[in-house]
Amino acid sequence: MPARRLGAADADSVPRVETVRLTRPDLDRRRALNRTHGRLVFASSVFALLFLVAIGRLSWVTVIAPRIPAPGDRPTTAFFTAPEPRDPELVAVPLAVPRGPRAMITDRNNEILAISLPTAALYANPRELVDPEDAARRLKAVLPRLDEAQVRARLSEPEKRFVYLARQITPREKLNINTLGIPGIYFENTERRRYPMGRAAAQVLGGVDVDGHGVAGIERFFDRRLAEDSTPIVLSLDVRIQAVVRDELIKAMESFRAIGGCGIVMDVRTGEIIAMVSLPDYDANHVGHATNEERFNRAVTGMYEPGSTFKLQTAAMALDYGTVQLWNEFNASQPIKIGRFTISDFEGKKRWLYFPEVLAYSSNIGAAHVAQTVGAERQRAWMRNMGMLNRISVEVPEAGLPIVQTAQAWKEIVTLTVAFGHGISVSPLHVARGTAAIANNGVRVRPTLLAMVPDMIPPDAERVMQQATSDTMRKLMRLVVTDGFGKTSEVPGYYPGGKTGTAEKTGRGGYQKKANVAAFTSVFPMHAPRYAVYMMLDEPKANASTYGYATAGWVIAPAAGRTIARIGPMLDMLPELTNAAKINASLAMPLQPTRPPNGVRSPPVAAVPPAAVKPGRTPPAVAARPAAPRPSPAMPAHTPRATPPTGAPATRDLRHEASQPPSTALLAAQYTAPSLVPAPNPNR
């Protein structure tokens, strides 16, 4: 109520007009105040809600879903526990102490390849030290390997409260240091990774850094798994086989002064890698001191032109596509000129060659002609199918990518050169896998470094060619060893088959004439393939025993043969000599087969369009040659060896062919039929 006007009459005491003028702002204020009070209530509700949320969250993080740090923390490392899986930031925390010991790595026979031993690291809190100088002197007295000046400097950093002094303290040293009773000196329980086999499988295992993290190989690939799960990782490697391969490689390397080497033994049926050696290697216990060259795993990271070992692929491809028959002949009498390139043979026969001869004598020209019958597109598809274009998913991070032409650039010249393993670079493991697939009934398996459960069906196994192709290829591979450039790898009773390959290394601005990569890829035994053996020397130099040759047949095939002879018994395979005649017969393949009366395979080769050969440039490579003189009368295919390749031995250049003396008792036993004993080498 407005105030009464003093002195006015009662009826007139409250003037109407003035009342209106006064009350409007009053009402406004009152309305505003009511609104303010309403909003205060709203604000209170919001805050009540916020604090309820806070209490709820508090209960959540403390009682309902607490995050418990790992037990056994000490104050200094209280929360630097093992990194959680989704926590990459914490992996780098220097004080990280793994949960348990890092898991062991063993070979397939549970031989320990890597093991973590508990040790202690010595550290200090400089703030708690009374006399750094004295402490450094006394520590040096019981731990002579310390650098006293450095320790003194570290202990004299008062702004720090944690400095490492030494790692890998033995229990005795720990006791001695504790006896000193220096305040501010502590031990941190750590572990030390030991590799009892030292250099064996160094690149496969890799190694760990000072903090116990894998830096390469299996250690790096399975770094998290090894840190989190302490059950051992069982590798497919067999350390005994590994040692043999390494031993033979080292001998060959020394004999031929090679700069490096590589050896792979793989189970062709499961893909398990039984041995993987790369030289030079290093002691896995000191991976930090290894040079890059030593750490380089040639078997998976090195990309080399496979050279003539690829002719196996070319042959299998042409047989599988049906573009070539065994009795077809190919003109190797003159080089192929295409563009500015000339494809010629190394120590060639300078004549038409039968298909098996192309492999046995390793004719580049012949292989190029064979590839022409298939054509670029199908050739590339074949290579893709054999896994030659992609990284191999083997369990080391170093697995490399092959260097191949793109589909657009895969022109005729590429087709011709890839046929004999040039113009494409793949790792040795690629070659070994491809060879294994050809021998293993045409089934390609995935190479693995992990041991498989016995009788396990290998994962990712895929048929990549017909059974018949593989059957024929096994005979051809065997032929290379019995009659071709691979004779030096022959091991009685193990029936190896394979292919040599010598490729000039690519360097700055083209091929290096003097630098070769000599490789031999093989599988044994050919009648029931079990293991692929690949061996390679990087830049071997000829010596007197090889008559000046540094080709694969001379420098590495013998090593592969010796390796097979040594590892066979370890792999529970004794030389199969009693059934030698039967086995040899089953693997027999004439160098110059004749067309069977009723062509088993069709279409006839003459009908095959000369795939990529342009008319006029080169003479048709593949052609029926009825007029050519047959070196021998037609023989049934099952008695091939009865027909010595007439004429060929006389003209064959034996300098880079067989030199293995066959006159051992074993060989005599193997070749029971007198006609099967090879003719004495005229050059010997």
Binding site: L40, A43, F47, A54, T62, T76, A78, R86
Partner: protein, 383 residues
Amino acid sequence: MIALRSRADTSALGRWFWTIDHWTLLAIFTLICFGYVMMLAASPAVAEHIGQSRDIFILKQVVFLAAAGVLTVAVSLLSLSGVRRLALIGCGVAFVLTVATLVIGVQIKGASRWISLPGLSLQPSEFLKPFFAVTAAWLISEQRRQPGFYGWISAIVLAGMIVGALKLQPDIGMLAVIVMVFFAQTFIAGVNLFIVGALGGLIAAASVGAYFLFKHVRDRIDPFLSWNGAEHYQVIRAKQAFGAGGLSGRGPGEGRVKDVLPDAHADFVFAVTGEEFGLIVCSVIVMLFAFIVLRGLIRLLKEQDLFVILAAGGLVTGFGLQAFINMGSTMGLLPTKGMTLPFISYGGSSVLAVAFGMGMLLALTRRRHGAGTAWGHNAGSAP
């Protein structure tokens, strides 16, 4: 001693005792006691961490906490006009010093927020928060009282200047709290909801802008947003601390998070509390904050004076928001912000500034004769 005073006592202290809000005062002093205990728990480890003498480190904070108690009571003795005068002067000084940090400030952790004084580093922006709340309240309420007064404009301009200074430091956490407090005040003042909404939208847009503009804001928000990605290191440690604490805690002094978190005594003191004292004690602390905030707001419902409502509302809002944001970010509920937990966190500026704020709150909410009978005509706010 105080309790012995009779209601008939009309001395200044006697009047104060009978008009003050006892429950809020009790809650504040309980918080100060908690602050003392937590400082004893967290500080030694941190002192060792940063290489200071442990005794001096603790002694400093003991002095600050004691000063905070005295300051709270002293400020709460002020009349309304006294509060207003203190706030205006305080706001001016704090603003000048905040601007000065840009020139003569000490860079700590990438931001120049501190002014080095002998014995302590002063963070003037901490003081800006309570003083600006009261200043803005006065400016707004003054326009209601005398329409010719450009209160709103002045408040907005002042807010803009403060925002600019804090952005330059940069101190985005403090900036956010001051803006939110000002926003709450405009809301409480009864401004048209449309304008409030527009202002809210503007703040939201500015937040998004800050995210894209400032790298250190992004660094804090990103790990928070990616729930399944890499969490912030400190938050993981804090959560583990809470988890280790459980219902009743590891026990006083048994905490470990303080050894590994450099901010254990300041921004992450709540994690230390959680680890050493557990859910029950932490809940008590949360409820103390909630009690002060809610009681403060609800008591304002009986208040008629717009200045008192806005000033007390702003102070309480700032206090509550700061507490909630600190606890929320420690528990992984919010992105981490450089913000202290009032009275509990170590730090002179923070404790003293909060003491100023709570002192003014107590002064504003003292029972006054004549309060509730008039609107804006109290003795304290006479022109």
